[in-house]
Every structure is written in structure tokens, then in C-alpha cells.
């Protein structure tokens, strides 16, 4: 098998760059011509373009809506693809794309705040506010990563944190101002409707400036494929080059986002597709990825316009940005087996903490657990401010608080164990349970049931969630199995499925569909409607996870030496990875049912455990579960007090309090290690 693969590489590296761009472009062009012809209603195209009759609405629609929309899609597609190519090149990570670096959530948050509390700022258009928000988010990411010399891992990790954090704050605002933000949600979905040439012209200048900048830095970028140490030994300033390339990438994204909102997946898919289609060298990719991105987005947009004019969808808006994901994900999956493994996902930039300190911290964890329980049942805000509850009051509300506390803490344990397993087995510290797509897959199953019009009885919904999670898992196993479950391959699949879910959620939010409120409930991770029986069952699963997880610790430890080494030590590599993933998926699916797919705890708890000195997998798992339970339990209580009487979901609060702690840890350890 190995020999065959090696032999086929020099023989015939297939090259279908031109064919791919050509087919997509031709489809788009034909659809566009048909659309314009219908709309023109007999008027001459050239007259419409150069000397339109302003009173003929058909001509105005062609000139000021259809044509600028085409220009806009081409520009956006190319810009996002270029941004993605640059980011993937300098971070050497196929998962890196500008959208995951915090730009979009930053812009979105800024716009949300502006629309709610300073509407005069957005009266003149969203561009400036969105650009400012994206810029601040970007500065934050760079600021966090700068102290670690902009290492590829630190940039991605910082991006993830800023991403999750801004996203969580947006959700928190959204919860209580849902309907105010309907317009913003359309923008968030990436609607490309145009009403004049002004916006595409503005975007054109921004993109051109970035293209010029790219041409200037293209030479040093080429050597990045060799790895950090090689680049440095060649005498190129790693930090500065990486910074420059990322800056271009971020400015491109910010320009696009501020003009049309989020266009999912093009920045991730186009460079990958270009590489798979045969653009092996950076210079080729810098040309072909933007071409492919433009063609991809244009074709998608034309199809979207055609579909949304049909009877079935005419009550809803179909935002193009979300549809790109629907189209891009299967395409990426199809081509994934051809993707070559990217090195350097396992980076060495993780700070190592001394192991000795762990023992001294354990008593504190026990104290924390007691405090959280006391808070949960004893202290709360009421009509007359803070008070300690009397036994009668505790008894009266116990039916309500006990299942909540148990559910929140079980979810913390479940996610912490799943997160540790996944981070260890993929050797990727940015891996969180949702990155494997299992929770999104489960949620997707529920969404499909809802939209298929089936009666949402408990049994059917649970079956849907389970089927979604299992399908995701099967896909992971089928595609990942060919690569012996190589971590990067799995993460790509997971990111694809998560993107699919996010796309559907934002499409629903933007469309004005009445099921939007229901989806919001699912996304924010509230424990409000948890049944007592469910929380006890979840606690049982969490305990099972705590027993089964450490049993796999030996495998995990051996696997961390690398697959060949582990194999020679007698570990059945594929089977071990399969077992670990199965367990992680089961735990994640259970947690999804409790608190929705917002699983920041699964990312952060293992980190905190490691920074506290838990290095061995089994120990890390236990410490992480204590941290996870504490965090979620405290978050559940805090969520009920902070905006009393409005309740904030536990998953959201956990994200808000966990984020700064993770950042502080990262910064402190960096200072210590330099």
C-alpha cells in the first residue's frame, strides 16, 4: 500500500486546475446570462449597461443589482481565497483560515454593540464599524501570539480564543435582544444582494492594495513550507514575515466581512482545492486559489439565486454565504483522501509546567467543589437583593436547582474527559470536542428532524441526535481510516461538519424562519429545560467516562511517541485510535444533549489541568474533570445571578469566565519560559 502510494506520486500528478475553474465558471456564466435575459425582458444589454432608462425597473435591476452582485461575488471569492492561501502558508495548518482568526466574530460583536447602543455609528453604513471590530480582534490575536514569537500554533490558539470569546459575548447580547438584530443576522448570513456599484468599487480598491502587498512579500513566503527552524536558519525574519502575511490576510477578510458579512468556507476550501487540483507550489496557489475561489462563489451565488426564486423558498431569504458551506463541505470531503499530511500540527510551543505542584492544589479543588455546592443551593439574588436562603426556600426550589447543578457539573466532566482524549490523541492543543464535529453532527441530526416536519417527540429527537453523531463518527472513521486516523485529516472533517452546522444555523437565523428561536435555544447551551432524569443519566455517563478514560491512558501515552514507534511497542494503532475516538464521541454527544454544542469547557479544562502540572494522561483527565465540573457548576450559579432575573446559560458563562483565565495562563507561562 505504502509502495503504491509512493510510486504514484512521480508518475502522474493529476492537474485539473483549469478544468475545475472552467466548469464552475461556465455553470455560473450560463445561469447569469439566463437570469439577466429573463430580467431584461427584451431590452438591450449594452443600452442597459451604459445608458439605462431609469424609469424601467427591469433595466435598473440588471444594472444596479444583478451585475454588481456578480462583481461582488468574484471579488469576495478571490479575496477570501487569497487570504486563506496566505494564512495556511505561514501557519502551515490546513485548518487556518482568516475566519477562524477572530475577524468575523470581532466585526460581528462591534456591529452588534453599535446597533444596540450607538445606532448613529452604523447609520452611515456598516463598513467602518465592522472594520474597526475586526481590527481590534486581530490586534488581540497578534498581541497574544507576539510574546510567543508569532509561532504558528500560538496564532491559531489565540485566534480560537478570541473567536470563541467574541462569539460568546455576541450570543449573550443576542439572547436578550434577539429581534432587534434581525437585520444584523441577514448580514451575518452573508447576503450578497447589491443595490448599486459603490460597495464593489470600494472593495476593489482594498483588494487591489492587498494584491500589491502580496506580490511584495511573495518571495520569503515560499520557504515557509520547510518549517520554522529551516526558515530561521535561512536568515529570514520569521516573525516579521509571518506578521506581514497575516496582516494582509486579515485586512482582506475584514474588507470582505465588512461589506457583505460572513462567507463561510471559501477561504478554507479554495486554497485546499487548488492544492488538490494540482497547484503544488505557492506561486501557483497564489494565482489559482483566488481564481477558484471567485468561480466557486460565483457559481454558488447563481445557483442560490435560481433556487431562491422558486416557489419553495420564496418566503425565506437564502444567504449565499451559508450556502457556500453546504457546497464546499462535500467537495472538500470528496477530495480529502488526496490531501497530503501537513507537518507541524504537533508543535512544540506548548509550555511545560513542573509536575510537583499538582499535589498541593488538590485540596483547593475539594474546597472549590464545596463552595460551588453551597453557592448553588444557599445564596442567591432575590427581589430584595442578595440573601442566604432559608431551609424552607431551599426545599421549595430544590426540584429545580438539584437537577441543574448535576447536569451542569456532569456536562463539565463529560467535556473535560472528551477534550483531554481528543487533544491527546490528535496531539493538537487547539482540538476541542466540537472540532471533531461530533456535537455539530448530533445537533445537525436534530435540525434535520425539525425541518423534515416530523413530530418532535422525545424519542424521535434523541434518535436524530444519535443518528447525527453516529453518522459523523462513521464518516470520520471511513475517511480517517484510510490514513490510520491521522489527526489532521480528522480535524479537517470535523471542521467541515461544524461549518455545515453553523451554516444551517445562521441560514435559519437570517431567513426569518420561526424555528430560529428554537435553534438559538439549542446553540446557547442553556440548562433551563433539563429533566431531572436526564441529568442523573448524564451523571452516570460521566462516571462511566471517568472509569473508561483512564483505562486508555497507556495507549495515549504510547501514541504520543508517534504512530510508528507506538506500533513497534505493540499498540494496535488504528484500533487504539478508534476506541479512543468512539469514547470521546459518546461523551461529547451526551454533553451536546445537556448544554448544546458550545463546548469551550472541553477546550479549556484540559489546558488548565496541564498548566497546573498534570502531565500524564490519566492524571490530566481527572484534574480536567474536576476543573470542568467546578467551572460549569460555578457558571450555572453565576448565570442565574449576574443579570438577575434574566438567566444566562451555563455554557456561555463558562466560556466568559474561562477565556481570560486561559489567556492569563498562556501569557504567564510564556513569560516564564522566555
Amino acid at each position: 500500500m505504502r509502495n503504491l502510494a509512493a510510486a504514484s506520486v512521480p508518475a502522474a500528478p493529476r492537474d485539473f486546475r483549469a478544468a475545475l475553474v472552467g466548469v464552475l465558471g461556465a455553470v455560473a456564466l450560463i445561469l447569469a446570462i439566463v437570469g439577466i435575459h429573463v430580467q431584461l425582458n427584451g431590452a438591450s444589454f449594452w443600452t442597459t449597461l451604459f445608458a439605462p432608462n431609469r424609469t424601467d425597473l427591469h433595466q435598473v435591476l440588471v444594472r444596479d443589482s444583478l451585475l454588481p452582485r456578480i462583481a461582488m461575488t468574484l471579488l469576495c471569492g478571490a479575496a477570501l481565497a487569497l487570504a486563506g492561501t496566505l494564512a495556511q502558508q505561514v501557519l502551515r495548518n490546513p485548518l487556518a483560515e482568516p475566519m477562524t482568526l477572530g475577524i468575523f466574530p470581532g466585526s460581528y460583536l462591534a456591529l452588534m454593540i453599535a446597533e444596540l447602543w450607538a445606532p448613529s455609528w452604523v447609520a452611515g453604513g456598516r463598513t467602518i464599524v465592522a472594520l474597526a471590530g475586526g481590527g481590534i480582534a486581530m490586534l488581540l490575536v497578534f498581541g497574544l501570539a507576539w510574546r510567543q514569537r508569532m509561532s504558528s500554533l500560538s496564532v491559531i490558539l489565540s485566534g480560537m480564543i478570541v473567536n470563541l470569546y467574541c462569539g460568546a459575548i455576541s450570543l449573550a447580547i443576542c439572547m436578550s435582544h434577539f429581534d432587534l438584530l434581525r437585520g444584523l443576522m441577514i448580514w451575518g448570513g452573508g447576503a450578497l444582494d447589491q443595490s448599486g456599484w459603490q460597495e464593489s468599487r470600494q472593495l476593489l480598491w482594498g483588494v487591489l492594495a492587498c494584491v500589491v502587498a502580496t506580490v511584495l512579500v511573495r518571495r520569503p513566503l515560499g520557504v515557509f513550507e520547510a518549517g520554522d527552524s529551516t526558515v530561521q536558519s535561512l536568515g529570514i525574519s520569521l516573525q516579521r514575515t509571518r506578521f506581514a502575511a497575516l496582516l494582509i490576510s486579515v485586512v482582506l477578510t475584514a474588507c470582505v466581512v465588512s461589506t457583505v458579512g460572513v462567507i463561510g468556507f471559501v477561504g478554507l476550501a479554495a486554497p485546499t482545492l487548488a492544492r488538490l487540483a494540482g497547484a503544488r507550489r505557492l506561486r501557483q496557489r497564489l494565482i489559482w486559489a483566488p481564481l477558484l475561489g471567485a468561480a466557486l462563489l460565483w457559481a454558488t451565488d447563481e445557483i442560490v439565486q435560481m433556487v431562491s426564486s422558486t416557489e419553495l423558498f420564496s418566503a425565506h431569504l437564502v444567504p449565499t454565504g451559508t450556502v457556500t458551506s453546504l457546497l464546499g463541505v462535500p467537495l472538500l470531503m470528496l477530495l480529502l483522501p488526496r490531501l497530503r499530511s501537513q507537518p507541524d500540527l504537533h508543535a512544540s510551543a506548548i509550555a511545560h509546567a513542573p509536575e510537583a505542584s499538582l499535589g498541593r492544589r488538590l485540596p483547593w479543588a475539594v474546597v472549590g467543589l464545596v463552595v460551588v455546592l453551597m453557592l448553588t443551593f444557599g445564596i442567591s439574588r432575590g427581589v430584595h437583593g442578595w440573601h442566604v436562603a432559608s431551609p424552607a426556600q431551599i426545599g421549595a426550589l430544590l426540584f429545580w436547582r438539584l437537577p441543574h447543578a448535576i447536569a451542569a457539573m456532569s456536562a463539565g466532566v463529560l467535556l473535560a474527559v472528551a477534550g483531554t482524549l481528543i487533544q491527546r490523541v490528535t496531539a493538537n492543543p487547539m482540538a476541542s470536542p466540537d472540532l471533531l464535529g461530533v456535537s455539530s453532527g448530533g445537533a445537525l441530526g436534530i435540525v434535520i428532524i425539525l425541518f423534515a416536519g416530523l413530530d418532535p417527540t422525545p424519542g424521535i429527537l434523541f434518535a436524530g441526535c444519535l443518528a447525527g453523531a453516529m453518522t459523523t463518527l462513521a464518516l470520520l472513521l471511513w475517511l480517517g481510516g484510510r490514513a490510520s486516523f491521522a489527526p489532521d485529516r480528522l480535524l479537517l472533517i470535523g471542521v467541515g461538519i461544524s461549518a455545515l452546522f453553523e451554516a444551517i444555523v445562521s441560514a435559519t437565523l437570517a431567513s426569518g424562519d420561526p424555528r430560529a428561536g428554537l435553534l438559538m435555544d439549542l446553540v446557547v447551551g442553556s440548562t433551563y429545560y433539563i429533566e431531572p432524569a436526564a441529568s442523573y443519566a448524564a451523571a452516570a455517563v460521566a462516571l462511566a467516562g471517568l472509569v473508561l478514560g483512564p483505562l486508555m491512558a497507556r495507549w495515549i501515552e504510547t501514541l504520543s511517541l508517534g504512530a510508528p514507534m507506538a506500533g513497534s511497542l505493540g499498540v494496535p494503532v488504528a484500533r487504539a485510535r478508534l476506541a479512543i475516538l468512539l469514547l470521546a464521541a459518546l461523551l461529547t454527544a451526551t454533553a451536546t444533549l445537556l448544554v448544546g454544542p458550545l463546548s469551550f469547557v472541553g477546550l479549556i479544562a484540559p489546558h488548565i489541568a496541564r498548566y497546573s502540572g498534570a502531565r500524564r494522561p490519566a492524571v490530566q483527565m481527572f484534574v480536567a474533570s474536576i476543573v470542568g465540573a467546578l467551572l460549569m457548576g460555578f457558571a450555572d450559579w453565576l448565570g442565574r445571578q449576574v443579570m438577575f432575573p434574566q438567566e444566562m446559560p451555563a455554557g456561555l458563562v463558562a466560556t466568559l469566565i474561562g477565556g481570560p483565565y486561559l489567556i492569563a495562563l498562556t501569557l504567564r507561562k510564556t513569560v516564564a519560559s522566555t
Binding site: 438539584l402 439549542l522 443519566a537
Partner: protein, 336 residues
């Protein structure tokens, strides 16, 4: 916080409880369902029964929905608590909500601490609260109303529910009076418009301006559509108005501004408030400026009216339509 107004309509119908059902399903696995008994062992007020006509009328009422709060107030009773009272003041407006009404938290996640402290004797909930009903009934008996908002014919359903609530409050005469007053108002406006056929010459489109290039149009299945029919005004989004019917989901169609090219003959009534950004945006929108209804100033802005509100909102809608059509007829329409 700026003074801005919002309409909560889209989240009222069927916003239900997916997760709870999921969890119920999860619980149905049965692993530990025995323990459920532990949760209910602390029953505090589980013995509440449905009130019968011999009992005194409830007087400490909590409403978990703003539209139902409107109907309650219209029947002459003020609630002791409702979720986010400011939202009522911004979206429903009339009848005014007393300042003493307490905030009980989020619409679908009211705070149990707060509810318990208020000690209500009746809670008015919607079908969306069904998953929490069992827990809410530990605090006080509940009455489920508001299904009219997701009905295909919301107006007759609204009349029924108004009567049902009045019966529960033991003041049926108030409902009869309210319905009669609404009928009278509607008939007056219809007569007033009928006397000026010029104002009924073209159909109208009632919509929200969502942003500078999208509209939410009220079509078949919305209260506004049924009110237009009662007023003798043609809804351009409906069959029989000379254009193909607009497909809706629970009375709404979310459409880009370009869609207005299908109904060029119609006048446009925008339900208030108009966002400053949307207002500024449409002025720069080339398509908007080319629309016949914009060039011929056949646009008017209505005040804030809840699209799924009760009969008071519908009375205000009838008046607002009459005023708007008069404004357009006099050539004074526009969004500026």
C-alpha cells in the same frame, strides 16, 4: 440605552423546547429515572388544582408573553409580573403597563426565584412554555393561551382566546365590550375609506424594513392581512390582488427589496419604527429609488404596532392604515 423599539413576533409561535424534549428522550433511556422521585419529593405546591367557577377570580397574575399581557390589560387587569417589562412598553405600547409590574426574567426562562417571591395565583403561558409547565405549576396554576399566533386564521382565534381569558377572570362582559368596540372601530374605518374610493384604488403591502435591502412582508395568515380584508383594503401580497400569491411562513415573507418589482402598482406601508440605518440606507439604494412606489411617493410609515398583538393593537392598526392611506392620497408619502 437608546430609545428603540422592537417587535418580538417571530419568537412567539412554537418556540418550543427542543432541548427539553431531547432530554426527556434522553431520560427515557431510563438509566436513573427512579431518581426522579427525589426531585419531586420536595414538592411544595404540587396540589394545585384547576380553579372552578366557584373560586374567587385570580388577582395576582403573571403573564409570560407580551401580547397576552396586552389582552389582560385590555380586559382591565394588570399583571404583577411579566418578562422584561420594557419590551412590552417598546413593542406593544398600548394599553400602558403600570410601572409597578415586576420583571420575571427571560421570556422562555423566567426566574423561579422571582416567580416564587411574587406568589402569583395564576400564570398565563403560551404553548411554547409547555416543557416548563410542570415546573411552573409548582408555583401557581397555569392557563395556556396564545395559540392564535400560529393559527392559519389568527383573527377568529384571537377573539376566542380573548373570551377565554375574560371567562377565567370572571369578567366575560369586558371581552364582549372589547370585541364590540373593535368591530365598531373597524366598521368606521371601512366606511370612512369606502367614502373615498381613490384611497382604495391600489392594493397595499404592509411590511417591516429589516435593513436597507430586505423587507418582512405580512401576507396570508397574519393578523394584519385579516384586518386589511375587514377594512376593504387589498393586500398586494395576496392572491386576488392581481399578482401571484406570496408564499409565507406563519404570515410572513422575508424578501429582498428587488421583490417589490413584482408589485409595482402597490402602495407600501412600513410598520414602525424605522431604523436610522435602514432609513439612511434606502436613500442610497439605487433600486429603492427606482421603485414606482418610491418615485410616486406611495409610501407611509405606521406607528409601532405588534403584528401578533391583541384587539387593542388591531384597533390601532385600523386607525393607522386610514391615516397612512390619507397621507399617501394627499401626496405626502415617503420615508424621510
Amino acid at each position: 440605552m437608546t430609545k428603540r423599539v422592537i417587535r418580538p413576533a417571530s419568537r412567539i409561535p412554537r418556540t418550543d423546547p427542543l432541548r427539553r424534549r431531547l432530554l426527556a428522550g434522553f431520560g427515557a433511556l431510563g438509566a436513573f429515572s427512579m431518581l426522579d422521585a427525589f426531585g419531586s419529593a420536595s414538592a411544595w405546591a404540587a396540589t394545585q388544582t384547576q380553579s372552578t367557577s366557584s373560586e374567587p377570580a385570580p388577582h395576582r397574575i403573571v403573564t409570560l408573553n407580551w401580547e397576552l399581557t396586552e389582552t389582560l390589560l385590555a380586559l382591565g387587569v394588570a399583571p404583577v409580573g411579566t418578562p422584561l417589562p420594557d419590551w412590552y412598553r417598546n413593542t406593544i405600547v398600548e394599553p400602558p403597563l403600570p410601572a409597578s409590574v415586576a420583571d420575571v426574567g427571560l421570556l422562555y426562562q423566567p426566574s423561579f426565584e422571582m416567580l416564587q417571591a411574587l406568589a402569583p395565583d395564576l400564570m398565563i403561558i403560551t404553548p411554547g412554555h409547555a416543557p416548563a409547565k410542570r415546573w411552573l405549576e409548582r408555583i401557581a396554576p397555569t392557563l395556556t393561551l396564545g395559540a392564535y399566533m400560529s393559527s392559519d386564521t389568527p383573527y377568529p382565534a384571537l377573539l376566542n382566546e380573548t373570551g377565554e381569558l375574560a371567562a377565567k377572570l370572571q369578567r366575560p362582559q369586558r371581552a364582549t365590550d372589547l370585541i364590540a368596540a373593535t368591530d365598531r372601530d373597524t366598521a368606521n374605518v371601512r366606511a370612512q375609506l369606502g367614502a373615498r374610493p381613490a384611497r382604495l384604488r391600489v392594493p397595499v403591502l404592509v411590511a417591516d424594513l429589516v435593513d436597507d435591502r430586505h423587507l418582512r412582508v405580512y401576507a396570508q395568515g397574519s393578523l394584519f392581512d385579516e384586518m386589511l380584508r375587514k377594512l376593504g383594503v387589498q393586500n398586494a401580497a395576496n392572491p386576488g390582488a392581481g399578482s401571484k400569491p406570496w408564499r409565507t411562513e406563519q404570515g410572513f415573507a422575508m424578501v429582498p427589496v428587488q421583490r417589490l418589482a413584482d408589485v409595482q402598482q402597490a402602495s407600501l406601508l412600513l410598520v414602525g419604527p424605522l431604523e436610522a440605518s435602514a432609513r439612511a440606507g434606502v436613500r442610497k439604494n439605487a433600486i429603492w429609488q427606482a421603485l414606482p412606489m418610491v418615485r410616486e411617493r406611495r409610501i407611509a410609515v405606521l406607528p409601532v404596532i405588534a403584528p401578533y398583538g391583541g384587539l387593542v393593537s388591531m384597533q390601532r392598526f385600523a386607525q393607522a392604515v386610514a391615516t397612512a392611506l390619507a397621507t399617501i392620497d394627499n401626496g405626502g408619502g415617503g420615508v424621510a
